[in-house]
């Protein structure tokens, strides 16, 4: 999802405005100023920690780890946006990660091998399918109680927070389940769970083509209806910037090399003679990050381009109006919780694959991080406002702060204090910004 929203404007609506501030210029050309602000904040955080940590933050190793660590929260944050936009909340996601993660672990370690035979290469597929279905089912159950019985989502999911944490323990009587299926482990990233350099470059190339195609298609559509076009130079700059960011990200991911013992194993597996001075095998983009990118694209598409997404936003804006417009509001609410449940399952899969184990405490406090990511990313708890890319950025901001504080040796209690302060400050700034924008 690009920062730029492709949406048409008419010639007479936007003449050059008398006050030529940067903000009004961006707004005139339909560039989300909020998102630009968040990117600036993120860069400030990165540069700040880079200096404070003596140059260890903006390194391939740290950024690669950051990308993987962000994934599991960010995946869920994209779903939380829809839930919060529709004036609901889901406090149960952390516990759902526990239950769904535990069930998926049991499936691949104990239940399915007994059924399909140990080492069956379909085990990871079956595990994932059951996990996704379970997530959707839990979401449907909670969503139905909220929509059809009318119990507030806060209460239903607060109950869920307890219930699913309990089930996470009951599923395996509190045991730690490990190790995961060999193929399933790849979902968590790591040496084998990454795309490698060639694959990453190809993906980066495809992304660049996609960015250019989106810009060109946007222009074509505007021209078709005779709406105002963005200045050509600006579209060129945007396209150039987008591709530069993508390729830079790929370059960073490809600049992080396997440690020597893994590289040796890699060389042996591929019958490459061990060279003098070591072999540099790039990680490339990790699979969980790929999953996150896929989830982001799909969720942004759902939110902006599908009826369902528009209905979610309309319900958040004015539930009564949505109802009077003939929208099936209850069904829509249930669907948002089902989507949330599916994303919880995806996130749980990434988490247990990364840990290579499932414990009954898996996902504890995740609900708070997920909600915080969505809110820092501009989702309004009053409903009706929020963006998917914003929530992903929100998750990245939070994880950057956390990783940065670890790097400079800040203890866990102080980290919590800092994150809490940042959350409230971000929302305070946002509230003031919105109030001024409304005037």
């Amino acid at each position: 999802m690009s920062v730029v929203e492709a949406s048409p404007t008419h010639p007479e609506t936007l003449g050059p405005s008398p006050r030529r501030s940067v903000g009004s210029f961006l707004r005139d050309n339909e560039i989300d100023t909020r998102m630009v602000g968040m990117i600036v904040v993120l860069l400030v955080i990165w540069v700040g920690f880079h200096f404070l940590s003596g140059g260890t933050f903006i390194t391939p190793r740290n950024l690669w780890n950051l990308s993987v660590q962000t994934s599991s929260i960010a995946i869920m944050a994209s779903g939380m946006v829809l839930v919060i936009v529709s004036r609901n909340i889901d406090l149960s996601v952390g516990s759902m990660v526990g239950t769904v993660g535990m069930v998926m672990a049991m499936l691949q370690v104990e239940w399915l091998p007994a059924l399909m035979g140990r080492g069956n290469s379909w085990i990871w597929v079956a595990t994932l399918a059951v996990g996704l279905a379970l997530g959707a089912a839990i979401g449907a159950l909670q969503g139905s109680i909220i929509a059809y019985i009318g119990v507030p989502s806060f209460i239903v999911t607060l109950g869920g927070l307890l219930v699913w944490r309990g089930f996470a323990w009951l599923t395996a009587s509190g045991r730690t389940i490990a190790p995961m299926d060999a193929s399933f482990q790849l979902l968590g990233g790591g040496a084998r769970g990454s795309l490698g350099d060639t694959g990453s470059w190809i993906l980066g190339g495809i992304a660049c083509v996609g960015i250019v195609a989106l810009l060109v298609m946007g222009r074509r559509r505007r021209r078709k209806f005779g709406f105002r076009l963005r200045p050509t130079w600006l579209d060129v700059v945007l396209g150039f910037l987008g591709c530069a960011v993508v390729l830079a990200a790929v370059w960073v991911m490809n600049s992080y090399y396997l440690p020597e013992n893994l590289a040796r194993a890699y060389a042996e597996a591929n019958a490459i003679p061990w060279p003098e001075g070591g072999l540099q095998v790039p990680y490339g983009i990790a699979y969980p990050v790929l999953i996150l990118l896929g989830v982001t694209l799909v969720m942004a598409f759902v939110a902006n381009r599908l009826r369902f997404g528009r209905y979610v936003f309309s319900i958040g804006g004015n539930p009564e109006a949505a109802n009077l417009a003939g929208i099936k509001t209850k069904r829509t609410i249930v669907k948002t919780f089902m989507v949330m449940g599916i994303l919880v399952a995806v996130s749980a899969a990434v988490s247990i694959a990364r840990l290579n184990a499932a414990v009954s405490g898996l996902g504890t406090l995740n609900e708070l991080y997920v909600i915080a990511a969505a809110v820092i990313g501009g989702t309004s708890l009053a409903g009706g406002i929020g963006t998917i890319p914003g929530a992903i950025l929100g998750a990245l901001v939070m994880q950057s702060l956390q990783s940065g504080m670890v790097l400079i040796g800040v203890g866990a209690p102080v980290q919590d204090v800092a994150l809490g302060v940042v959350l409230v400050t971000a929302v305070a700034i946002d509230t003031i910004y919105r109030r001024r924008a409304a005037r």
Partner: protein, 265 residues
């Protein structure tokens, strides 16, 4: 006093013996009204007379406890707003019923979005259609990309009216259509109502403004405390007589001179 539809045609809408109650309170009690094509029916009454509740049953926004609705003489089942729209009934609510966080085109097509052949929202087509209809209704309207929450009362009203008009309504319900408007915009809405009427659309207009009603309506139905006082032809009555119906609940022929004098205090 009864009224007969001009030319004895089948009325476009006939609501018979409608009843709605909320926990023992009869909001609408045995009310029957009818509406003809190309006619404006003024529905008047004090606060809590049951006007809005009555039209909501026609719009599918409120379930009636009993009563029958006939469209073109045929029994109609209207349980949801969707059903009402299928019968060509469009409603402009007093609250406007707009999703404030969405822009004008999204609101125009709320629940009836235009889709591309890929099954995705066709925002450009929706904006284009909105520009066209706004060009006709309110040429000064230019905020097609901002959330309607940032628009003025008149502009918001334009969006609500445009939405009702765009989908070829045959029956239009307007609940206080000019309450939020300035004089110029009010005149615009009146002009539009006359035009729609001449196109053969039947309009039920709820209004507090007795002048508005006398200016526009062909017939006037008066409600008091959930009951229909009566329906009169505008040409047959004076404003005072309608006021007497609204306040005392008596038809012109039953009102005494003393009561009329009391009315003027």
């Amino acid at each position: 006093m009864t009224t007969t539809p001009p030319g004895g045609r089948t009325p476009l809408v006939e609501m018979r013996d409608m009843n709605v109650s909320f926990g023992g309170v009869h909001a609408v009690e045995d009310v029957s009204i009818d509406l003809n094509a190309g006619e404006i029916l003024g529905l008047v009454g004090g606060n809590g007379a049951g006007k809005s509740t009555l039209v909501k049953t026609l719009a599918g926004a409120q379930k009636a406890d009993s009563g029958e609705i006939y469209i073109d003489g045929k029994l109609a089942t209207i349980a949801t707003p969707r059903d009402a729209k299928a019968y060509g009934i469009e409603t402009i609510y007093q609250t406007l019923a707009l999703a404030d966080n969405q822009d004008a085109p999204s609101n125009m097509f709320l629940g009836r979005e235009l889709m591309t052949r890929w099954g995705t929202l066709d925002d450009s087509a929706m904006e284009d259609a909105t520009r066209k209809i706004m060009g006709r209704l309110n040429p000064k309207f230019q905020n097609f990309k901002t959330p309607v929450s940032s628009l003025s009362g008149g502009q918001r009203q334009s969006v609500a009216i445009a939405r009702a008009v765009h989908f070829n309504a045959r029956i239009l319900i307007m609940d206080e259509p000019t309450a939020a408007l300035g004089p110029a915009e009010t005149e615009q809405v009146r002009q539009l109502m006359r035009q729609l009427k001449s196109e053969g659309i039947g309009i039920i207009m709820i209004s507090h403004d007795i002048h508005d009603v006398f200016d526009l309506a062909d017939r006037i139905s008066v409600m008091l405390q959930g009951r229909l006082v009566g329906t009169v032809n505008r040409g047959d009555v004076t404003m005072d007589e309608v006021l007497a119906m609204i306040i005392i609940g008596k038809l012109p022929e039953d009102v005494t001179t003393t009561e009329l004098e009391q009315l003027h205090g």
